[in-house]
Subunit: 261 residues, 2 copies
Amino acid sequence: MVEIAPSASPEPRIFTAALVVIGDEILSGRTQDKNIAQISSWLGVQGIRLKEVRVVADEFPAIIEAVNALRVKHDYLFTTGGIGPTHDDITVDAIAQALGVPVVVHPEARQILADYYASRGSELTEMRLRMARVPEGADLIPNRYSGAPGICWGNIFIMAGVPMITAGMLDALTGTLEGGLPVLSETVGCWVGESEVAQLLADTEKAHEGVSIGSYPFFRDGQTGANFVIRSTDAEQLATCVTVLSSALEALGREPVLGGI
Amino acid sequence: MVEIAPSASPEPRIFTAALVVIGDEILSGRTQDKNIAQISSWLGVQGIRLKEVRVVADEFPAIIEAVNALRVKHDYLFTTGGIGPTHDDITVDAIAQALGVPVVVHPEARQILADYYASRGSELTEMRLRMARVPEGADLIPNRYSGAPGICWGNIFIMAGVPMITAGMLDALTGTLEGGLPVLSETVGCWVGESEVAQLLADTEKAHEGVSIGSYPFFRDGQTGANFVIRSTDAEQLATCVTVLSSALEALGREPVLGGI
């Protein structure tokens, strides 16, 4: 009889995602991106960690390279931008090319758009019909704001670039993606130069396995301060680390501010 | 005698840059990135086009991969974040590893830091000295706010993550990088659904060589509008295209708003 050694409890599976932001307007500095923060926060709640973002131009080779590099590296790949009706909206064509599948008109998307424009006394023109085109084999992501749906193909989620519409699409996806333990975090703020407590931070992180501490300095009202963000998937370890760090800061005569400054 | 055919005027050289944003705080959604827009706008003025951005975690393999992929693909590579005094600041070590050079203490940086802390009645501790470490062969980028300099190594510019400090470093670099013709742009706004004028936009772009038109829809006060951003390195072509597009919108009974809405 083979004796089976008691195994340590298995490491919890970590789910990761990448995001490709498609848009000359972000790269030119004209538009301040809002989707990175929005999507990463949403992913965090789903128990999925955003590990990499690429912002690329509205160009076929750039989109294809980013999509093919990232879709195999992560559990999920999100894209934003370039799915509208105009000539600079090339995301669907580029992703289809990356996947090696043809672009087809999705019948349900065509119906959604026909209904949407009919309800506004308008017509589904050829350019508007562009928004019903998907890589063959795709499903739709509902868009409660402006008709034209997002697209899901395998582990790829193709979303709008306008942040409000992206938000609606994320909402439609909430709870549908498998994730792992969410990363919990607490912030301890302090009016202290981070360099003054750098050694303390390093030692504290080292003493608490599975906990990471990020240090984010700021300058405000002529004073130097920092927020220390403590992260862990384990609530108990997180709380212990927060207590230890706060006490250590107090011992230095520096008041810790729970929740951050 | 060899006759030399008259050649067309050579295409102007286009200078490109990439940016690697290093920081868990951006990927977690905790911090809204400000450096992408700031750096891309600054690059535009220098006649350099930002072509790609990657946001990566505070992890050696992620930083090394991004730096090595992008430094050979573009004229310039910028990085932000991870050059402070704390344990999570690993940018210098990761980039040195990517370049295959050792990390050394830069004597001038050490002096700057020693002076900076002495002037504040404090000392250059071991952790603070971390901010004088550079990949061997590097030059410094002045930091007028908080002492610790940025780093230049070949075509790589290693900058702070705190946007105000990044701004000071960009300021120090202004006019020092070779660029090409800056991309000029004009915005024409219109209270129109972009799908309604999608064909017009495509035709107008096609009729004006060297001009690109981006369409950026928005929803405001319950109404649909869009800004059309016209870009070119040629001021005359740009002006012509703006006039043609504006007239065409007027002919449709849609008032064009120069400068955007």
